[in-house]
Subunit: 395 residues, 2 copies
């Protein structure tokens, strides 16, 4: 039997990384391949208590259909608390609740991209976004990165040269996959360019609150006076990912389109879950919770980086993330990280090869390491194993 | 500021009905306009208890990311219990968990429709589906209905004439908006035609279990030997809609594409919620629960129909639904239901004009009435009011 699929469906293919992750789920493998938050601090007890209260007092409403744009109190709290932390001055009516920021990305793709349209993004960029954009048959203009994130001067050159794209997609804070953060100066410049060239910026910011040293930087949207920046937020890395609650913050006239997309996509987010998250934000101190997470992640980052320093060959480079979940490793040019992975799996250690994160391909000599989801002793042991594989493989 | 949106986004527009429903939320209006289940029987207490247990014993897993295809136990239970009630013999690997059946519809549209493709559907059909298909710039070949659902002989004539479409979309049980059910004979014939003309059938079946008199009919998919039927299910009308849990049942090779769409759309459904629903299905008797719902809805249908019989002018026709949430009223040809609504609102009673349910337009003289969400005394009072408006308006 042969189904006549749409052109867009024809290009859907399984993510190499997800296929790979299946192998790495074997219990004897030390895996730095995933992107999972540490579950130790998920507020299970608090959420159980809140659910009890909500269902006891308000069950008929909490289990019923509810407005597409989201639970008013949650939208309010996101506007006044979450967006305030990103230094954005906004209101409830600029917030749509989404099923994680992944759904926000899907909506951005639907909203802006015709088949074959160009978009601008960092090189490398988030694989989950690339997969969404690929499904719309997007083409990519990529901007290189350095330790201060997207090199915005290169973006300016591109725009000056007359190249045009539907939007600029960026993960400014502790980027997935590189762990790198865009400097404040570049954020300002990016907003200037967005205004000058009238091009929307999609700021995907799930990690911003998970900052290890110093304060969170002002978001790109905080410099946006005219509404060119669409901000995608998420509770996945601060509270927990399983509840699938994120948001879009955009000008009301644009948000209206997002709401219509939400309506045809799945009508609304889970009514009960929205209440759980809103009441958690109202009744508990999310900052205190996030600080616990940060302490653990910071320690794990330190352990990973210090062990790499001690055991990795000196011609291997890696980023020093000040937040988020990942560090990004640059191998010598001639090393293929996918082949390295085959060797590493023999030694029962796993990572994600970096090539799929480059939307236009190439770049075989990179890999991504996750430090948030592995115990301290396994981090040390796993990095030692990986160092041994590297030494064998490179020599 | 002018955003350069995609062609598909350009055609998104607010649903007339949803705008209308905002007016009807005023507390003094008796509204038959919505499509809400009755909240009296939502199992709030049971869900609170289950959530407590899940989070106490398994919180780290229940709040973490989880597989895109869904929680294994829930897929298993849907295959063995829910699909068995639809008389479909299937297994876990043919089930994907979705955010309500609305998300299944969205995925069907993405999977099959290029801009300008034709699909075949009943006339009228579900507005939420029409909105999804419109966003893909679909065109419609419509099949008329009678008291036994889609007139499948008309479908055969259409296919014989050489007309082609990407799929046939149907709501066979207690259709929204008409409340009409497709006969078994037509279900069989529909599957034969699907095989003969190699055209997929999307069976949207959220109401099948809510049957008032006699047994549920075998689903269309129950006659499907070759995998042409894609079944969309939902817990919204049996358990509660706020949890947003539905499913797709399709051949594994096709389901794989649905899973990839799920992955780029929102990664997965809420991990905790999937456990709540699975454990409810495991630990409680959903049938018993649904029987309570049925008793109430049957009574409300009877009250509504009997009151209409008594008070409506005799030239007004309406369907006699044997399940589901709606009856469908046919006014004399020259009556415009949208104009009637304006009058009705003055008398503080509301309904949905039927025109938006006809994908190719026209048909101003229909309206939909919901009986599931209004108390018995309000049903009688509301229908009396509507009868008065009708008598005034028609004379």
């Amino acid at each position: 039997m042969q189904f006549q699929l749409s052109d867009r469906a024809g290009t859907l293919k399984a993510s190499e990384i997800r296929e790979l992750l299946k192998i790495t789920e074997q219990p004897d493998i030390i895996s730095f391949a995933g992107g999972l938050p540490a579950p130790e601090f998920f507020p299970a007890k608090e959420l159980a208590q809140l659910t009890q209260e909500i269902l006891a007092t308000d069950g008929k409403v909490a289990l019923q259909y509810s407005p597409t744009e989201g639970y008013a109190l949650l939208r309010e709290i996101i506007a006044t608390k979450s967006m305030a932390k990103a230094q954005v001055n906004t209101v409830k009516d600029e917030i749509l609740i989404t099923a994680g920021s992944q759904q926000g990305l899907d909506f951005c793709a639907k909203l802006f991209l015709n088949d074959g349209d160009y978009l601008i993004c960092e090189d490398p960029s988030y694989l989950g976004a690339i997969n969404v954009f690929n499904a719309c048959h997007a083409k990519y203009l990529t901007i290189p990165m350095d330790d201060n994130g997207m090199i915005v001067d290169e973006l300016e050159k591109l725009l000056q040269s007359g190249k045009r794209a539907k939007f600029i997609y960026t993960i400014p804070d502790f980027q997935n996959p590189t762990g790198v953060t865009m400097s404040v100066e570049r954020r300002k410049k990016l907003v200037e360019l967005a205004n000058q060239y009238q091009i929307p910026v999609i700021e995907d910011n799930p990690y911003g609150d998970v900052v290890f040293d110093g304060e969170r930087l002002p978001s790109i949207k905080s410099f946006d006076k005219n509404g060119w920046v669409i901000y995608l937020g998420s509770f996945s890395k601060t509270l927990c990912p399983g509840l699938r609650i994120g948001w879009v913050c955009a000008l009301p006239e644009l948000l209206q389109k997002f709401i219509l997309l939400k309506q045809i996509s799945d009508l609304q987010c889970n009514t009960l879950t929205q209440r759980e998250v809103a009441h958690y934000m109202r009744d508990y101190d999310l900052d205190k919770h996030v600080n616990q997470v940060i302490t653990v992640y910071r320690n794990r980052r330190d352990l990973m980086i210090n062990t790499m320093k001690e055991y990795f060959p000196t011609n291997i480079k890696y980023t020093y993330p000040n937040g988020g979940l990942f560090t990004w490793v640059t191998l010598p040019d001639h090393i293929n990280a996918a082949e390295l992975l085959e060797e590493a799996l023999k030694d029962k250690v796993a990572f994600v090869p970096g090539a799929p994160f480059f939307p236009n391909g190439g770049h075989k000599n990179y890999l991504r390491l996750n430090y948030s989801n592995m115990s301290e002793d396994k981090i040390v042991e796993g990095i030692k194993r990986l160092a041994n594989v590297l030494i064998r493989f490179i020599s």
